[in-house]
């Protein structure tokens, strides 16, 4: 289950909260993703500043108390693969029909989304080359492309 929360206007500060649906008792995961870094055009992958925090399970109540309001939520079901520090997630996105009720969900589409991401220390740009090399190996099964966030907004 993933939900994005938007900060109080005027700032569009986005925080992502995530929890496991099949493992109870695991901490919730809070993530902040910054704007894409400059000098991005030459890199093969999208690079953003990232802060990951594990939290207790009252995260949503806490975010609301801080002034955040939920922007969207969805359920992701699939598989996670690892290759070194690279993480490949193959998942289907499900729309939640009634807010807060994860029992009634419907798939957004019939296909799976394949996402390749890496969390690495700042400045290690060479990681994006490794990602591109790996992506090449997945062709023609899957064509992985660099995400352009401006196109999605």
């Amino acid at each position: 289950l993933v939900s994005g929360v938007r900060g109080p206007p005027p700032s569009p500060f986005v925080l992502r909260a995530r929890r496991s649906m099949d493992k109870s008792g695991m901490p919730w995961h809070l993530r902040y993703l910054g704007q894409p870094e400059i000098g991005d055009k030459n890199r093969h992958a999208l690079v953003r500043n990232c802060v990951d925090i594990a939290t207790s399970d009252n995260l949503t109540d806490f975010l609301v108390e801080m002034g955040f309001r939920m922007d969207h939520e969805f359920v992701a079901k699939g598989h996670v693969f690892r290759k070194g520090i690279m993480k490949i997630v193959v998942y289907k996105i499900f729309r939640i029909l009634m807010p807060g009720n994860t029992e009634s969900i419907e798939p957004l589409s019939l296909s799976y989304l394949v996402e390749l991401n890496v969390v690495a220390p700042a400045g290690q740009d060479v990681v994006s080359d490794d990602m591109r090399n790996f992506a090449e190996q997945l062709k023609p099964l899957v064509h992985l492309e660099k995400i352009d966030p401006k196109r999605l907004m």
Partner: protein
């Protein structure tokens, strides 16, 4: 924020990998140490309460099943009081060991023994959590903040 709510971010050396964030009468979030990094990013959101950082530093004693922590409470350069934290380790239900705790505290605190903490209010039988400790410290620190500092008289 809009309503001017206060959010406290606290750390406890007993839980060195954690960070506690709480609102008065609100939820207390337990997070890992990266929460401080997030707060730096969120700096624009909040008006930092003017230099209100308060801490209690002292000695940790272990006496059989009890933990007693005595500390000097300081706000900036000035000492403002003394804090005493008493924990009975084997028990996680407050109601089940309050009498024992009180008896133990009376043996060395006499008249200064406190009443049952308000954090247990209605939920006497719920399992104790480190967040309950932090709420008590927040209340104690707030009480100390509100205390008038004793003026020092001087003659010119």
């Amino acid at each position: 924020g809009q309503t001017g709510k206060l959010m406290y971010v606290m750390h406890n050396s007993e839980y060195p990998l954690s960070c506690f964030a709480l609102f008065e009468n609100g939820p207390c979030l337990i997070a890992d140490a990266n929460f401080d990094t997030l707060m730096v990013k969120l700096k624009g959101f909040f008006q930092n309460a003017k230099a209100n950082k308060i801490e209690s530093r002292g000695t940790r004693y272990q006496y059989c099943d009890f933990l007693v922590k005595v500390g000097t409470v300081t706000m900036g350069p000035s000492a403002r009081g003394i804090s005493v934290e008493v924990e009975y380790c084997p028990c996680v239900i407050a109601n089940d060991c309050w009498n024992l705790l009180m008896e133990f505290m009376q043996s060395f605190m006499g008249n200064h023994t406190p009443g049952i903490p308000s954090v247990f209010g209605t939920k006497h039988d719920s399992i104790y959590s480190p967040a309950d400790t932090m709420v008590q410290y927040m209340e104690l620190f707030n009480k100390i903040r509100k205390q008038q500092q004793v003026p020092v008289a001087g003659i010119r």
